[in-house]
């Protein structure tokens, strides 16, 4: 005889589906389907969050290749990527290096913002 579990789940697969859906609509994982988003919003949609200063401005999104301010980055310890940019020309950099440069800039800005707010 098949074992009866809670919440109408009879099989391992049904139990796993229930756990998966719950995790994705409870904030343990990001919802990835419309149904999961709607369920998450139904429960937590009205919960307000206070956004930190770092997220107020959208400028960090548009630090594109030509806008990279090398002067402000001289003091960082992530000099390998910038050295490559200087050697090979910024237009020829691989995407992963550009992404890393953007990350480094973003982290630097976050650090600066934090120091300023102290």
């Amino acid at each position: 005889m098949k074992k009866q579990h809670g919440y109408g789940t009879n099989t391992d697969h049904e139990q796993n589906s229930l756990i998966e859906k719950t995790l994705k609509t409870t904030g343990f994982l990001f919802p990835e389907t419309v149904e999961e988003v709607e369920e998450f919003e139904r429960i937590y949609g009205k919960t307000e969050v206070t956004l930190p200063d770092e997220l107020q401005n959208s400028q960090f999104l548009f630090i594109c290749q030509k806008d990279i301010d090398f002067q402000s980055l001289i003091t960082t310890n992530n000099s390998d990527n910038f050295a490559m940019a200087a050697r090979e020309g910024i237009a020829d950099l691989p995407d992963n290096v550009i992404l890393q440069i953007k990350n480094d800039i973003k982290k630097q800005e976050n650090r600066r913002n934090k120091n300023n707010s102290k």
Binding site: I19, E41, N110
Partner: protein, 216 residues
């Protein structure tokens, strides 16, 4: 498309379709202004989930900020191929966008977690597709509130290692024992916890059994 608004005019409302189309404008300044509107509209949603996701980690706020920023940095170039016009029901647009951002944010979380835990260089990590698994509604599954509460409590009792391994399996759609974790994801877990793949599978199984015992 004519841009008649600056990002400093929040009283002017655009539909999601207009915003997405605006971000695809060839004029970079116009595209960026629309993307700013997009960012300001959706950042609270991503940040809210990131905060919940990271609440058990020691630098949760900084990690949540990084995940939010990285999600929108990664999403910008991908928006060019994001098509909302196929969904005629405009009321679904917001949920579709959030689901799409969720797939990007999930990968950002994985990378941030790995980087923070072991200071891995970003290129050492496997690339993961940001393609959502499903934009369509599946079979609606009612989740009883009591179960939700029990599961939350049970998750909070797990160690960071147990929680991370289980969430990696769930995030990859491999919670069922019949579906195997990708080689890249398994390699990453083995290297993080300095253990074998069979041990990782054991931890996942025991963690899942523990949750089922507590919640079902």
């Amino acid at each position: 498309m004519e841009l008649a608004v600056s990002t400093k005019s929040p009283q002017v409302k655009f539909s999601d379709l207009q915003i997405i189309q605006g971000t695809k404008e060839e004029d970079e300044r116009v595209s960026q202004k629309y993307y700013s509107i997009f960012y300001h509209k959706y950042k609270p949603y991503i940040y809210k989930i990131a905060l919940r996701l990271c609440e058990n980690y020691h630098d949760s706020e900084e990690m949540s900020i990084d995940i939010t920023q990285q999600t929108f940095i990664n999403a910008y170039p991908k928006l060019k191929s994001f098509d909302l016009s196929q969904e005629p029901n405009t009321q679904k647009h917001e949920a579709i966008i959030k689901a799409w951002l969720g797939t990007i944010a999930k990968n950002c979380f994985k990378k941030e977690y790995s980087i923070r835990k072991f200071q891995l260089y970003i290129d050492d990590l496997p690339s993961i597709s940001d393609k959502p698994t499903d934009f369509e509604d599946g079979v609606p599954l009612e989740i009883p509130n009591e179960f939700r509460t029990k599961l939350q409590a049970s998750m909070n009792e797990l160690t960071e290692e147990q929680r991370h391994i289980l969430l990696t399996y769930v995030g990859e759609g491999c919670i069922d024992s019949t579906r195997h974790l990708s080689d890249n994801a398994m390699r990453e877990l083995c290297s993080m916890y300095n253990t074998s793949s069979s041990n990782i599978r054991q931890i996942k199984k025991r963690t899942l059994d523990k949750i089922k015992k507590n919640c079902l």
